[in-house]
């Protein structure tokens, strides 16, 4: 019985079904292959780091400063493991992140509170858009900004402070937006309950909104930190690098990515690259994953 309008021969229709099924299956395979390709990049990159760098990791790695090029050359010539570590970079990175966080976290949270409390106003939309634009500024341009604002007038030379300022400018929009999003997820009824009890506004924020959204705020901060830990370009223009551990904000400082860049540019130190990158990668990834885990727990 043929209830389908007679268009084309039935046999033609049947083979077109086979054809459509084939196209459908081929496309699914294509999607899976390309997705697999994309994922495999993660493993390829991390795998390369691990394979090339595991030999260089030892306790000295975390306690000694980077060797100078001569020492490195001698060690390689003798087939030894290059002595020294990256402690100046590690401490330098931590110092930079602390400075940047001291600037960006309080400001970011306050601005985030403002945006979430006034989210419908036109002015707030402008601020939000500006913050998003700031987020999209290339990191090297931010390095130039910090150079113009700190290196030239304030510290009259490359400095940790300039690096901290650059990283702060990069962290600020991230923290603002994630704070705003986290606060928005606090149900209005909680706020209203507090207000109905006569709670002053500042207490509503400090005692209700922020504690309730705390894990969201932490998640956003960790994500911002993980993002700036790996930045190299802005630091090249601001904090430049330092062979020793340096606690003076007005002087140049070191950072792990800067060390990696130095090793890359020096033929004698090239073998140190991989262990340093494993360290950097591991730290960044762990922060990233912790941030996601905290963010997921809230749901």
């Amino acid at each position: 019985m043929d209830n389908i309008i007679n268009i084309g021969k039935t046999a033609g229709l049947l083979s077109s079904i086979g054809y459509r099924k084939a196209k459908n299956n081929i496309f699914k395979i294509l999607v899976m292959v390309f997705s697999f390709l994309t994922i495999s990049m993660v493993f390829l990159i991390i795998g390369t780091l691990l394979v090339k760098g595991y030999k260089q990791i030892n306790l000295a790695f975390f306690t000694q400063v980077a060797p100078d090029t001569f020492t490195a050359m001698m060690a390689t010539a003798n087939g030894e493991v290059i002595p020294g570590g990256i402690v100046n970079g590690i401490l330098g990175s931590i110092y930079l992140v602390l400075i940047a966080s001291a600037i960006a976290i309080p400001m970011g949270i306050v601005i985030g509170v403002y945006l979430s409390e006034n989210s419908k106003k036109k002015y707030a939309c402008v601020i939000r858009d500006l913050a998003d634009i700031m987020q999209g500024v290339p990191s090297i341009v931010i390095g130039i900004i910090a150079y113009i604002w700190v290196v030239v007038p304030l510290t009259k030379g490359y400095s940790v402070l300039a690096g901290g300022v650059a990283l702060a400018i990069m962290m600020l929009p991230l923290i603002v937006r994630s704070t705003e999003e986290s606060l928005k997820m606090v149900p209005d009824t909680l706020k209203e309950a507090a207000i109905a009890l006569g709670t002053p506004y500042y207490k509503v924020i400090w005692r209700v909104l922020i504690p309730t959204s705390f894990s969201g705020l932490i998640s956003g901060i960790l994500l911002a930190v993980s993002r700036v830990l790996g930045e190299t370009a802005p630091l090249m223009l601001t904090t430049l690098g330092n062979p020793d551990v340096n606690w003076n904000v007005a002087k140049p400082g070191s950072a792990v990515p800067l060390l990696i860049w130095q090793f890359y540019n020096d033929p004698n130190m090239v073998n140190l690259i991989w262990s340093s990158t494993i360290f950097l990668m591991g730290f960044v990834l762990i922060l990233n994953l912790i941030s996601k885990w905290i963010g997921a727990k809230r749901k």
Binding site: S35, T48, G230
Partner: protein, 283 residues
């Protein structure tokens, strides 16, 4: 209550910080580029000279604009099929399963890898491959940079796409299935038309990210101040020339580099603004 009003004022003024920083950034970049702008004017944008020799300094942005556009466009072209398929994988084919969330997390991790590591990987793994394939003598160049850039921007291209694809209403898909469509046909006739704007916005944002990327490109593009004539020739982008020359530049050269930074700032801002505008129109 008084403390309420004070607090509201404080919050308001804090928001001004963003305005001030944004304005100050534009101002500083502009101020720093003034010497270069006043010397070269509009010709800066179309001049392909870059000559730091004392006494005959002449700078132009064209070389780097071309380099930037070539690498970024090529990167986008490579990234789009990867991102498209990954989005379909996560938001449609395996939507809601554990596999999809693992894949989604892995793609996000790609965004977390620092760009210097991408550059190193490109240099030590990709360049030798390119050399072995006989495509280029040293492995540097537009193609290698674009390839690494593509991997770096895939997460940006998938993130918004995933959301828009997953948001296509279920009953539209069911209506198409009830008419006898295969999954591919449902994707083509229902999902894509409805997710098209979101996907376009995410590709635009990914493009903006590619344009501003500095370190990975600096390490792979070959640092040559010339207009690239082929896919595998070397060149420079706006970001990479700044990274390479800023440390030792002064005077007019410094100002020219700052003008390049201003250009970069303007271009990425416009691209991101377009992307955001599309997103607003959908929502």
């Amino acid at each position: 209550m008084n403390s309420d009003k004070i607090l509201k004022r404080v919050l308001f003024f804090s928001s001004l910080v963003i305005v001030m920083i944004a304005a100050a950034m534009v101002f500083s970049l502009f101020e720093g580029s003034l010497p270069s702008i006043s010397k070269f004017g509009w010709r800066f944008l179309i001049s392909d000279k870059w000559d730091p020799t004392q006494g005959s300094e002449n700078y132009g942005a064209l070389l780097f604009i071309v380099g930037t556009i070539l690498t970024s466009v090529l990167a986008l072209v490579i990234a789009i099929p990867l991102a498209f398929c990954t989005s379909l994988f996560v938001a449609e084919y395996f939507h809601g399963t554990k596999l999809a969330s693992i894949v989604g997390t892995l793609v996000d991790l790609l965004a977390g890898i620092p760009s210097i590591i991408y550059g190193l990987w490109g240099f030590y793994i990709l360049c030798p491959l390119v050399v072995e394939a006989g495509l280029s003598p040293q492995g540097f160049g537009i193609f290698t940079s674009a390839l690494i850039l593509a991997i770096m921007i895939v997460p940006y291209a998938t993130s918004l796409s995933n959301t828009t694809i997953a948001m296509v209403p279920n009953d539209l898909k069911e209506a198409a299935y009830a008419l006898g469509a295969t999954r591919l046909e449902v994707i083509r006739t229902v999902i894509l038309p409805n997710a098209r704007s979101g996907m376009t916005a995410s590709y635009i944002l990914a493009f903006g990210r590619a344009i501003g990327e500095t370190l990975a490109v600096t390490m792979l593009i070959g640092n040559e101040n010339a207009i690239p004539h082929g896919l595998f020739s070397t060149g420079n982008t706006m970001a990479s020339v700044i990274a390479n020359q800023f440390g030792e530049a002064s005077g007019l050269q410094l100002s020219a580099l700052i003008e390049l930074a201003l250009l970069l700032f303007v271009i990425t801002t416009i691209i991101n603004a377009i992307g955001k505008y599309i997103i607003k129109k959908i929502g």
